[in-house]
Symmetry: C2
Subunit: 199 residues, 2 copies
DNA sequence: GACATATATGAGGATAGCCTCAGTTAGGCT
DNA sequence: AGCCTAACTGAGGCTATCCTCATATATGTC
């Protein structure tokens, strides 16, 4: 084992070593996330991302070899965060009733999707990357497990269906950015729909 | 009124006059719709659209002055079609119960969205064109009116909320292209959810 | 046939965007 | 101070895409 530091250096991408680097990477990812939400992946230019982060274009490419790599890094961070929250929720909710779990899930997903709109923006990219599929699959499994371990447990097939449905439900109010009151009303209507359905 | 034919000729776009022209325009719009669904608006090139329609690039630009104009034409055709179907549904359903109306709406929207995936693909474009907003608003009003005229009528505010929710619900199963059985299950689950909610 | 108009073509101009690279600056370690 | 490496820079190469235009063919009318 001559070199013990090498590994994930495929010629160009660099992983931040010092504090300043880590801040820069964070700023670049934040700028990218904002712009992907505002103008879509294809509608956003790397130059614009660098500018919003207050960096030169070369710096952006120092840490992310590709526009796609940047999107992937953003999605990975958010997806890992959601996965952790779902794990925590799973612990909290063993043996709870399905309606209670549904409410808790509403709360977790609701604030997650509202705080991190880039998650949806990147997850919705056209094309079916293996990467995207695996992120979606993980989310599905975690949510399905939640319902399948409720008390009384939901049938496995229904749990799977709900694992697909609920995250999509939560995205509906997010499209109503300008109309706060209507957005809250829609969210409440959706919550009631699910409760009625699970009773 | 000297000229009774002029009007919408703004220097470049041409409206098909003969039968061959109409066929070409139809083929071009169909090709564009397919590709916008497969690869997104930004991911599709005008050259590719022309090629799939079996036309030269110049021919595409003969009828559509711009890529955006093509997308708008596609959306307009589909939106008009949906609007007509919703009008017909409105006539059929005066005085019906909300649950019945919901089922009928499921059926109309379900087959419309499945047959014309480009409608959603174009309607979801980022940016908020006045044009897109007006299409969305018209759909919302038509569906809200449906529920508001039910027997017993739903409160206006709830009708508006459902007008936003239901079309989004119907899009959920469409993302499950590969898994036919799951897709049907999800659709049925959604139908039941709405019925339970309206009972 | 002669004329007019709709339809068709595809090389190329103009522009924009991704990414490279040769070199510079900053920060820490001995 | 001297050195090493991370961090940084932005002009420009290369390619891809939108759209134009000068020209050619088909279709109809008299």
């Amino acid at each position: 084992m001559a070199s013990d530091k090498a590994s994930s250096n495929l010629l160009k991408a660099r992983t931040p070593q010092r504090e300043r680097g880590r801040m820069r990477v964070a700023a670049l990812m934040a700028a990218g996330a904002e712009l992907f939400v505002e103008k879509g992946f294809a509608g956003t230019t790397m130059t614009e991302i660098a500018a919003r982060a207050g960096a030169a274009i070369g710096t952006l490419y120092l840490f992310f070899p590709t526009k796609e790599a940047l999107a992937q890094a953003i999605l990975k961070e958010h997806a890992d965060h959601l996965s952790a929250e779902l794990d925590a929720l799973a612990e909290r909710s063993v043996g709870r009733a399905p309606t209670e779990i549904a409410d808790a899930l509403f709360s977790v997903l609701g604030s997650f999707l509202a705080d991190r709109p880039a998650y949806s923006a990147v997850l919705d990219l056209p094309g079916d990357d293996a990467w995207l599929r695996s992120v979606r699959a993980r989310r599905r499994e975690q949510i399905a497990a939640l319902f399948a371990k409720a008390d009384p447990p939901l049938p496995g097939e229904q749990a799977e269906r709900l694992a697909i449905i609920v995250p999509q439900l939560m995205r509906i109010p997010l499209s109503l950015l300008g109309e706060r009151k209507l957005r809250d009303g829609v969210l409440e209507e959706l919550r009631l729909m699910l409760r009625h359905h699970l009773s």
